[in-house]
């Protein structure tokens, strides 16, 4: 790895101060699971690594059905995965994290770190799009809060300005009657997804009160399939409507071909996964249960 200065601020204020003074040459180091391999491969430069490991109170997790979910900048993916409250309230988020295969990655890697890589292939980000998450940011000029949809600007680019860092993520409590489903397609279990879909569907008396459909790996950022959502809202969720919404959702994608898959396959699969996710949500809603299902 190229040489760098290693800094360990004791507070968030110190960290943002360092970020601000070193500008583009500075990077936050949390778990390092993504950052360090990239630096070793020469894909990223960082003259200053600002470790936030020793700043207290950044690795918390609060979750209940009323106040929603909140987790900090150092909260490990494994902590999220092993939270019973998270699993029962945010099934899709649990499933997305659980299928990240490497235990080592989950024990060391942070959810916020995962989000800050800003890849549209992040399963965690995809789910958070469907849950209406907000990203809390602290900078030298103060705090702000961004909905996750505007946190991302482009592939590998967030809205963070100089001197800003993410301190926590807030996820509102799902409305009563909401089913959350996550599905993806991968080459091997331990691979990054070819395409991921996360839906949050609120069903009341067989009709859809609200629907959020998020799709990952089909555009420079995760996308919400707004047109497909609009098709569903207020309507009875028939198989035909679900299929139509799935096709509409696919139409909202603009995937590329890369080493993992082809644009055509991703576009096609977006439709299949959206349909399957909606069907699954509907089945769970009519079951009225949260029993284990095969993916």
């Amino acid at each position: 790895m190229k040489p760098f200065e290693y800094l360990e601020p004791a507070t968030i204020a110190e960290a943002t101060q360092l970020l601000s003074s070193h500008g583009e040459k500075a990077r936050i180091l949390a778990g390092g699971i993504d950052l360090l391999p990239r630096m070793r491969a020469g894909l990223i430069d960082g003259d200053y690594l600002i470790s936030i490991r020793r700043i207290p109170n950044l690795d918390y997790l609060e979750c209940d059905g009323f106040n929603g979910l909140a987790f900090g900048a150092m909260t490990k993916l494994r902590s999220l995965e092993t939270s019973e409250a998270l699993r029962s309230n945010y099934r899709s988020l649990y499933d997305a994290i659980h299928q990240i295969t490497s235990i080592q990655v989950k024990c060391t890697g942070t959810a916020v770190g995962n989000l800050c890589v800003a890849t549209p292939a992040s399963d965690v980000a995809t789910v958070l799009y469907s849950l209406g998450a907000r990203v809390e940011i602290t900078g030298i000029d103060g705090d702000r809060s961004e909905p996750i949809e505007t946190f991302y600007v482009d592939a590998h680019r967030t809205c963070l300005g100089q001197g800003e860092m993410v301190t926590r993520v807030l996820v509102p409590s799902p409305a009563p009657g909401t089913q959350t489903v996550f599905l993806n397609l991968v080459k091997t279990h331990a691979d990054v997804a070819k395409v991921s879909v996360a839906v949050a569907v609120t069903v009341e008396d067989g009709s859809c009160r609200d629907a959020k459909i998020a799709i990952g790996s089909v555009a420079p950022t995760v996308i919400r399939a707004y047109k497909a959502e609009a098709k569903l809202k207020g309507e009875e969720l028939t198989p035909q409507l679900i299929q139509a919404a799935a096709i509409t959702a696919s139409g909202e994608t603009r995937p590329i071909s890369d080493v993992r898959s082809t644009a055509g396959y991703r576009k096609n699969m977006a439709s299949v996964l959206v349909r399957r996710a909606l069907e699954k949500a509907l089945r769970r809603a009519s079951d009225g249960s949260t029993k284990e299902e095969n993916r």
């Binding site: 180091l29 699971i33 360090l36 391999p37 490991r53 490497s102 990655v105 060391t108």
Partner: protein, 161 residues
């Protein structure tokens, strides 16, 4: 970037090592500490052969800065056995054909040790999930899972150290 002297506690022993911030934990273990049991299979955290336990937590040493773990207890494969006595997980690997070329073995064994600490009664599925981030090219994983299951049973029955 200046080298500095850092205290690293590895396998119960404190070492004063000269490191630069850009040295990974695996480089320091395999280099100045001459603990070459920890392997370097890919350098990008994908194969698991660099796995060590940091404060009991499975950690990819190729993706960890040595300087960042200076206050932690690090366990490498060398620290698992004492003299002639090996850990039941190691014994099970030896007895049940779970070792062929042996390159993935240290990482697999340490992962298994962490697993049985957290879950003393794993199912085969639990074991497979737990080892999902560790690659092997020789065994097809079958006997590795057999060995972890056997070791877990041995430990439950108390026939150990």
């Amino acid at each position: 970037m200046k080298p500095e002297i850092v205290s690293l506690k590895v396998n119960g022993q404190v070492h004063q090592v000269i490191v630069t911030p850009n040295m990974t934990l695996s480089e320091v273990l395999r280099g100045p500490l001459d603990l070459t049991g920890t392997k370097q299979g890919c350098g990008v955290g994908q194969c698991g052969s660099c796995t060590v336990l940091v404060d009991g937590t499975p950690t990819l040493s190729c993706s960890t800065l040595a300087i960042a773990v200076r206050d932690s207890e690090i366990l490498t494969i060398e620290g698992l056995s004492t003299g002639d006595r090996v850990h039941p997980v190691q014994q099970a690997f030896i007895d049940l054909g779970a070792i062929q070329c042996g390159y993935c073995t240290p990482g697999m064994i340490l992962m298994a040790v962490a697993l049985v600490d957290e879950n003393p009664n794993p199912t085969r599925e639990d074991v497979k999930e737990w080892l999902g981030g560790n690659l092997c090219r020789c065994t097809g994983y079958v006997k590795i899972v057999d060995a972890v299951m056997a070791a877990a049973q041995t430990l439950r029955e108390g026939d150990c150290r």
